[in-house]
């Protein structure tokens, strides 16, 4: 059989005939894009689930240092002594860090894990704010944490974080305002003001989450298309080699 006979009964080149399976190729691209997207998403989520506990361990050390060096002054004037806050930093800090650390080992990539990370990170903000005597600057930790949590590309995680930090502010405003605002008589609406700025940041972070996920899908689809076309090209070459081999016999 000659290579020319390989063109098919109707005389149309086989390669062109393969083109009529364009729908099939699109399905293959879609399936591969979906697999690539899931793979990358899973990888990203697992990586963050490993990083957050490291951050929390760092915060734990930082909190103990703050308690030892700053908290006695922040809360009891100029008398430097081992303050209750040192123990709070050690034990409450350990309690906040324990569950995220366990989940990062046991259930990385699980949706519940990242919600626990979000809640714990906000509790870390609350603890640091408390240890610093309610310094307004320490509240910036909340905003930085929200930005880091947005790396999950999961807006629901931001909702969890917001609920936790808002609840913390509300409860402490009405039970122990000095620990959250550094003053004993804040305006009753102070927690609403803080919540507003959190929601303000969330608006942009949620947009970033949605856009980031969309970009991830687009990149996966582009890579899938390149892979499928490259494979198709390679198959054409191999098919041609097969035809030439047999023509040469």
């Amino acid at each position: 059989m000659s290579a020319f006979q390989a063109l098919g009964d109707a005389g149309a080149p086989v390669a062109t005939r393969a083109d009529f399976s364009a729908d099939d190729r699109e399905q293959r691209i879609a399936a591969r894009a979906d697999a690539l997207f899931r793979e990358r998403r899973e990888h990203g989520l697992r990586r963050l689930d490993r990083v957050f506990p490291l951050l929390m361990l760092g915060q734990w050390v930082f909190a103990i240092l703050v308690a030892v060096l700053f908290s006695p002054y922040g809360w009891t004037g100029k008398v430097k002594a081992v303050h209750l806050h040192v123990y709070v930093a050690v034990f409450v800090g350990a309690a906040i860090t324990a569950l995220p650390l366990a989940l990062s080992r046991l259930r990385p990539g699980w949706a519940g894990t990242r919600h626990v990370m979000a809640a714990s990170q906000m509790l870390w903000s609350a603890l640091l704010i408390h240890l610093s005597g309610g310094r307004i600057e320490t509240h910036f930790h909340v905003f930085g944490s929200l930005a880091f949590l947005s790396f999950y590309y999961d807006w629901a995680v931001l909702v969890t974080a917001t609920v936790v930090v808002a609840a913390d502010h509300v409860v402490r405003q009405f039970t122990w305002p000095e620990s959250v605002y550094g003053v004993v008589n804040p305006e009753w609406w102070r927690f609403l003001e803080h919540a507003f700025w959190v929601v303000f940041e969330n608006a942009f972070l949620i947009l970033a989450c949605v856009t980031g996920l969309r970009d991830l899908k687009t990149a996966a689809r582009q890579q899938a298309r390149v892979e499928v076309l490259a494979e198709s090209d390679e198959l054409k070459t191999l098919a041609l080699e097969m035809a030439l081999d047999e023509a040469g016999r």
Binding site: M1, A15, A18, R28, E231, L235, L238, A243
Partner: protein
């Protein structure tokens, strides 16, 4: 692509699945090579072949064809 990772090295081709009716039929390499060239080319270009190695693991069409080419050039029985 649709390929699963194969443990171990130096795989050899074992069988080929070709479309038949609504599903696939397993044929030996000799039977595959005995098919008319245009039919084989169409199956390759439409990516409707499924190659399996000697451990029964699905391998990519391109890798299957490379192994088939190597076997045929080495004059193995699979050369048909």
């Amino acid at each position: 692509m649709t390929t699963e990772q194969r443990p171990g090295a130096a795989p050899t081709l074992s069988t080929v699945a070709i479309p038949q009716g609504d599903g696939y039929a397993m044929v030996s390499l000799q039977e595959f090579v005995a098919l008319p060239l245009d039919q084989r080319l169409r199956l390759i270009l439409e990516q409707r072949l499924r190659f399996y190695d000697n451990q029964g693991t699905l391998i990519s069409t391109a890798e299957g064809l490379r192994l088939l080419k190597k076997a045929r050039r080495a004059g193995a029985p699979a050369a048909g």
